[in-house]
Symmetry: C2
Subunit: 234 residues, 2 copies
């Protein structure tokens, strides 16, 4: 690990909390419209459809489309499933909320500390504009924004990780992915990157399926970004 | 101009001073090797070859190659012209120095002020890694790194500017290029961007050809980035 020059970070779940803001906004919209909405159920159901939606792009069945487009389609499915009729402006608010998610408490200080020793970048399936909005909203500072959008397909396709390594002019083993999701870490490892796991037990809300323990194959496992800073070579 | 959402900045000359560091390093190498080197002449001659070298890429005569590769080739030409025999390690130091240029005094505070109101990004012919290195070296904070490398050709090709607007999901007229070079500003305007000129009289060194007055067609002209912040809508 002593050759690692750059850390690239998964964003949704790893750096920012999607569950709480989406839950809150869905319940606020329910209150405004006098329609009871189980915000937590909506948030989880929506996020659960993220992977199958991306898979249609990764398989080539569907041309590139970004998270706003995917989110709009999967939200319609979730609303139908929950028998909720929401007007277009409310759907727009929910889709836009993914640009304004809050960082976990350790995220901003952790990025700042790690940024003194490593090049830092995003490594997200979110599109560039979404990542810029999230970084500005949450005060997260990165040296560079890397997105699946630059590769035209989604993680864990190796080309997404390798596009970042190529643009950094680093061999893959000098780039480390930081993520809380096993499939992402496995994808990065398969592409030759180093991997750092951080646990995010609250990702899926109270009692939810948030990640609590490290996959076996990672190079380093940490409780959060501050802990990670202490575990990486100085 | 009231719709501008993002400012993208030319880097070499506009944000950082290439003349002084290249001059200093060339003269230091000369002193070390006991070979008199006119550092200022070398710096100017080297930078003068930048445009013709890029043109070979822009015309399609040569496949994409980045600034390190272009600089290595043009340095060999300059050294031959000046009858200087420098060994490979010294050439490496000179080429690498373009990753460690210092910002002008107004650059870091100007970017910080402008960044509170606008999305900020680089818009440089330098490659992504070079821009990351320059930003880290100089403490320049951007929301996003845009480079000609992402378009696979060089400014003023419209695709370079339009790639940034597309990734920001903004119409070109909501993106403003900030630059001190007329051809860059004209290229951005031709692509539909807004344009802001800043003067950089010291770019080519004392008594050099640094830009002192605004081209006629720009949307706003400013003395430096601090002045620019005062001239853009709040």
């Amino acid at each position: 690990m002593s050759n690692v020059q750059a850390l690239v970070f998964d964003v949704f779940g790893t750096l920012v909390d999607w569950y709480s803001p989406i839950t809150r906004l869905a319940e606020r919209i329910g209150a405004e419209r006098a329609v009871p909405i189980d915000g937590g159920r909506l948030a989880r159901a929506w996020r659960s459809r993220y992977r199958p939606a991306m898979d249609t792009v990764r398989s080539g069945a569907r041309p590139w489309c970004n998270f706003d487009e995917l989110h709009r389609g999967t939200l319609a499915e979730v609303l139908a499933e929950m028998n909720l009729a929401l007007a277009e402006p409310d759907r727009d608010r929910l889709v836009a909320e993914w640009h304004r998610l809050d960082p976990w408490p350790d995220t901003v200080p952790g990025l700042a500390t790690l940024g003194t020793r490593f090049i830092t970048g995003t490594m997200s399936n979110g599109h560039v504009r979404m990542l810029v909005d999230l970084a500005r909203h949450g005060g997260m500072r990165f040296d560079v924004i890397f997105s699946a959008e630059l590769a035209g397909t989604y993680k864990p396709d190796p080309s997404v990780y390798l596009t970042a390594a190529r643009l950094l002019e680093l061999p893959p083993e000098q780039v480390m992915l930081v993520a809380c999701h096993e499939s992402d870490l496995a994808g990065a490892a398969a592409a030759g990157l180093r991997t750092a796991y951080v646990s995010r037990p609250a990702e899926w809300g109270p009692g939810g399926a948030g990640s609590r323990s490290a996959p076996a194959a990672v190079d380093v496992a940490a409780a959060d970004l501050i802990d990670l800073a202490g575990r990486l070579p100085a």
